[in-house]
C-alpha cells in the first residue's frame, strides 16, 4: 500500500495493552509522526498539558478511569488536540458518546495502517480547519485593532488592508475626514510591520512653516540659514529603518514636493546647506483629508509624486458610516474620562444612546471624544442621560444632513467644524504655523482676559480640538471645558 502523505504531527497514544500500544506506535512512526505512548488517563492528561499533541488516540478502557472521562477533562482544560477514540466496540452508542464528548472520529480495533492514516489525517485536517475558522472569526468580529475601536464592516475592511500591506515596504496613502484616525492608521501600519522595532516619525506638513519644512524633513547643517547654529538631523534620517508618516501631505508646497519625489525615488537626500548625499531605508505613509486626485487635477499636487505615494490606499470611513462603533467608542471614552475625572459613570441611558446614534458627527471620533469629555467634566452620575449631552447632539434641528439621506461628502478643502462648544468660526484658509513666531510686545490686559484670548486662539488653531488645544497650552482639557462653561454663563462667548 502506498502511504498517504501526512504532515508531521505529535500523536499521543493512550493505551494500556502493550500489543495495541506498540502496534499504534510502529504504524504512526512509519507515517512520519512523533509518538508518545501513555498507559493511564491521569498521565495522559499531564502529557497533553505539557507536550500539546496535535492528536490523541484514546482507548476507552483504561486502568484508572475511562477514555470518556479523560475526554471530559481534556475539554475542560481547553486542550485542543484532535481526539480519536480507539475501541473494540464499534457500536453506535460508543460512537455517539465519543462524538458528544468532542472526539473528531473513532476507529475500531483491529485496524490496518491505511485506516489509521486516513482517520488521523481527517482528524488533523478538521482540527486545522477549526483553528483557521476561529482565527478568521476573530478577525471579522474584532472590535479593537491597535489603537482603533470599532467592529463595523468598513473598519474591518480598513483593518484587513492595514494588515495585508504592513509586511511589505509599499507606500500607504491614508484618506479620511478630519478626526477619523489617520495617524492611528499610520501607527498601525508601522506597528504591524517588521519595522515595528524601529522609529515611527510623524510630520504634519500643514503645521510646519514652508521655510522650515525642508529642514524638518531632511535636516540641516550648521550655518545653512539664519538660526541654524548647529547640525540638526531631520525626520528622514530619524526614520531610517522605520516609517516616515507625512500627515496633511496635500499641504506640502510644490517646490518641496520635487525634493520629496527625489527622496521617494532614490531613498537619498541632502541636508539643507550640505552637498553630502545620505541614503536611508524608509517606509512612507501619507495622509490627507482631501481627495488627492482632485489636488493633482487642480495642480496643487504633483502627479508623479501622487503615483509614487498612492500605492496602497487606506480609506477611513466617517463616524456616521460606522453604525454601532459610535457607542463602542463613546463607552470607551466614558470609561477612560470617568476614571481620569473621578466620576461614577458606567454607561449611557437608552435615550442618550439614541441621540449619539442619530447625530451625524461631522467632526468624527475627535468630536465624539470632545462630547464625552464635556459630559464627564460637567456632570456626574451612574448613567449619562440625554439632557447631559451638549447641543447640537441633542438638538436634531441643528444636525447637518444625516449620512443616510446624503452619502458621505467627498473630502474637500473646506474645514468641517467638529466641536459644538464654540460659535462656528471658519478656520483660516492657511493655518498659522505652530512653530515659534517673532515675539511682539503684547497688549496689557487683565490676566483673565489674556487667558480667555489665549484659550480661544488655541481652540481656533486646533479647529476646536479641545485635547489638542489643552496639550498646546499644557493644561488639562477639563480646564478648558470649565472655562468655556463659565464664559458662556457670563456672556463672554456666545451661547450655543
Amino acid at each position: 500500500m502506498a502511504d498517504i502523505p501526512q504532515a508531521h504531527a505529535r500523536v499521543l497514544v493512550v493505551e494500556d495493552t502493550p500489543t495495541q500500544a506498540e502496534l499504534a506506535r510502529v504504524m504512526l512512526t512509519s507515517l512520519g509522526h512523533e509518538v508518545r505512548v501513555i498507559e493511564t488517563a491521569a498521565m495522559a492528561l499531564e502529557v497533553a498539558r505539557s507536550w500539546q499533541p496535535d492528536a490523541i488516540l484514546v482507548d476507552i478502557e483504561l486502568p484508572d478511569y475511562n477514555g470518556f472521562e479523560l475526554m471530559k477533562q481534556l475539554h475542560a482544560e481547553g486542550v485542543e488536540s484532535a481526539v480519536v477514540v480507539v475501541t473494540a466496540n464499534g457500536s453506535i452508542n460508543t460512537a455517539v458518546e465519543a462524538m458528544r464528548l468532542g472526539a473528531v472520529d473513532f476507529i475500531v480495533k483491529p485496524f490496518p495502517k491505511a485506516r489509521l492514516a486516513v482517520t488521523l489525517a481527517n482528524a488533523l485536517e478538521k482540527r486545522a480547519l477549526v483553528a483557521q475558522l476561529r482565527t478568521v472569526r476573530a478577525r471579522l468580529d474584532r472590535d479593537r485593532f491597535f489603537g482603533f475601536i470599532g467592529a463595523s464592516p468598513p473598519m474591518q475592511a480598513a483593518y484587513r488592508t492595514i494588515e495585508s500591506v504592513a509586511a511589505s515596504k509599499a507606500s500607504v496613502f491614508i484618506t479620511g475626514e478630519s478626526g477619523t484616525g489617520k495617524e492611528l492608521a499610520a501607527e498601525a501600519v508601522h506597528k504591524a510591520s517588521p519595522r515595528a522595532g524601529r522609529a515611527f516619525i510623524a510630520l504634519n506638513c500643514g503645521a510646519i512653516p514652508r521655510d522650515l519644512l525642508e529642514s524638518e524633513v531632511f535636516g540641516h547643517v550648521k550655518g545653512a540659514f539664519t538660526g541654524a547654529t548647529s547640525d540638526r538631523e531631520g525626520a528622514a534620517k530619524a526614520a531610517d529603518g522605520g516609517t516616515l508618516f507625512l500627515d496633511e501631505i496635500g499641504e506640502m508646497p510644490l517646490e518641496m514636493q520635487v525634493k520629496l519625489l527625489r527622496f521617494v525615488q532614490t531613498g537619498t537626500f541632502s541636508p539643507v546647506g550640505s552637498s553630502r548625499v545620505e541614503k536611508v531605508d524608509v517606509r512612507f505613509v501619507c495622509a490627507t483629508n482631501r481627495d488627492p486626485m482632485q489636488d493633482v487635477q487642480a495642480g496643487r499636487f504633483r502627479e508623479d509624486l501622487y503615483y509614487r505615494l498612492y500605492v496602497v490606499p487606506v480609506m477611513l470611513p466617517p463616524l456616521r458610516d460606522r453604525g454601532g462603533d459610535i457607542l463602542l467608542i463613546a463607552r470607551h471614552f466614558l470609561q477612560l474620562f470617568s476614571r481620569e475625572e473621578n466620576r461614577r459613570f458606567t454607561g449611557f441611558a437608552p435615550e442618550a444612546e439614541r441621540a449619539l446614534m442619530a447625530y451625524p458627527w461631522p467632526g468624527n471620533v475627535r468630536q465624539l471624544q470632545n462630547v464625552v469629555r464635556n459630559v464627564v467634566v460637567l456632570h456626574d452620575g451612574d448613567l449619562v442621560d440625554a439632557a447631559m449631552l451638549p447641543p447640537p447632539v441633542v438638538m436634531p434641528g441643528t444636525h447637518p444632513p444625516p449620512a443616510v439621506a446624503a452619502p458621505s461628502p467627498p473630502p474637500t478643502d473646506a474645514f468641517t467644524p467638529p466641536a459644538p462648544f464654540l460659535p462656528a468660526e471658519p478656520p483660516p484658509a492657511d493655518p498659522p504655523p505652530v512653530g515659534p513666531a517673532p515675539w511682539a510686545e503684547p497688549e496689557i490686559v487683565p490676566l483673565a482676559e489674556m487667558e480667555r484670548r489665549l484659550i480661544l486662539a488655541a481652540l481656533k488653531h486646533t479647529t476646536h480640538d479641545v485635547p489638542r488645544a489643552a496639550a498646546l497650552l499644557q493644561i488639562n482639557p477639563s480646564t478648558i471645558y470649565r472655562k468655556l462653561q463659565s464664559w458662556k454663563a457670563n456672556g463672554l462667548v456666545p451661547a450655543d
Binding site: 495493552t17 500489543t19 483491529p110
Partner: protein
C-alpha cells in the same frame, strides 16, 4: 470452517503494512502479553478477585484484538462479565486453549516470515 486462532488475513495485512521486522517485534510483544495475562487471569480466578480477573480478561481481549485473534478476543470479552465461581468455569479453559493455539500459530507464522516470503 473454524476461525484460525491468529487471523491469517490480518497477520498478512500487518506484514504488508509494517514489514517483517516490525511484525516480529509486535508478535513478540503479543506473546509476552498472552503469557503474562493468561497467568494473571488464572491467579485472579483462583483468588476469586473479580476486579483483577476482569482487568486481565480485558487486557487479553485488547492484545488479541490488536493482532486479529478474533476468537480469543471474543472469549475474553465474554469472560469479562463473569464473577464468583463462574470465573473458574469453562471460559478459563477455553481462553487458555485459544491462547496456546494463538502462540503456536504465531510461532508458525514467524517461522514462515523468517523462512521466505510472508503472507
Amino acid at each position: 470452517m473454524p476461525t484460525p486462532p491468529l487471523t491469517a488475513g490480518f497477520a498478512a495485512q500487518l506484514a504488508q503494512d509494517l514489514g517483517p521486522d516490525d511484525v516480529r517485534m509486535i508478535l513478540s510483544v503479543f506473546r509476552a502479553d498472552l503469557t503474562r495475562l493468561d497467568g494473571e487471569l488464572h491467579e485472579a480466578a483462583a483468588a476469586q478477585d473479580a476486579t483483577a480477573f476482569r482487568r486481565a480478561a480485558h487486557g487479553l481481549a485488547g492484545a488479541a484484538g490488536a493482532v486479529g485473534a478474533a476468537e480469543l478476543e471474543a472469549a475474553c470479552r465474554a469472560a469479562m462479565a463473569r464473577t464468583g465461581a463462574d470465573m473458574m468455569g469453562p471460559d478459563l479453559a477455553a481462553i487458555h486453549g485459544l491462547a496456546e493455539a494463538s502462540l503456536d500459530d504465531l510461532a508458525t507464522y514467524v517461522a514462515r516470515l523468517d523462512g521466505g516470503p510472508h503472507g
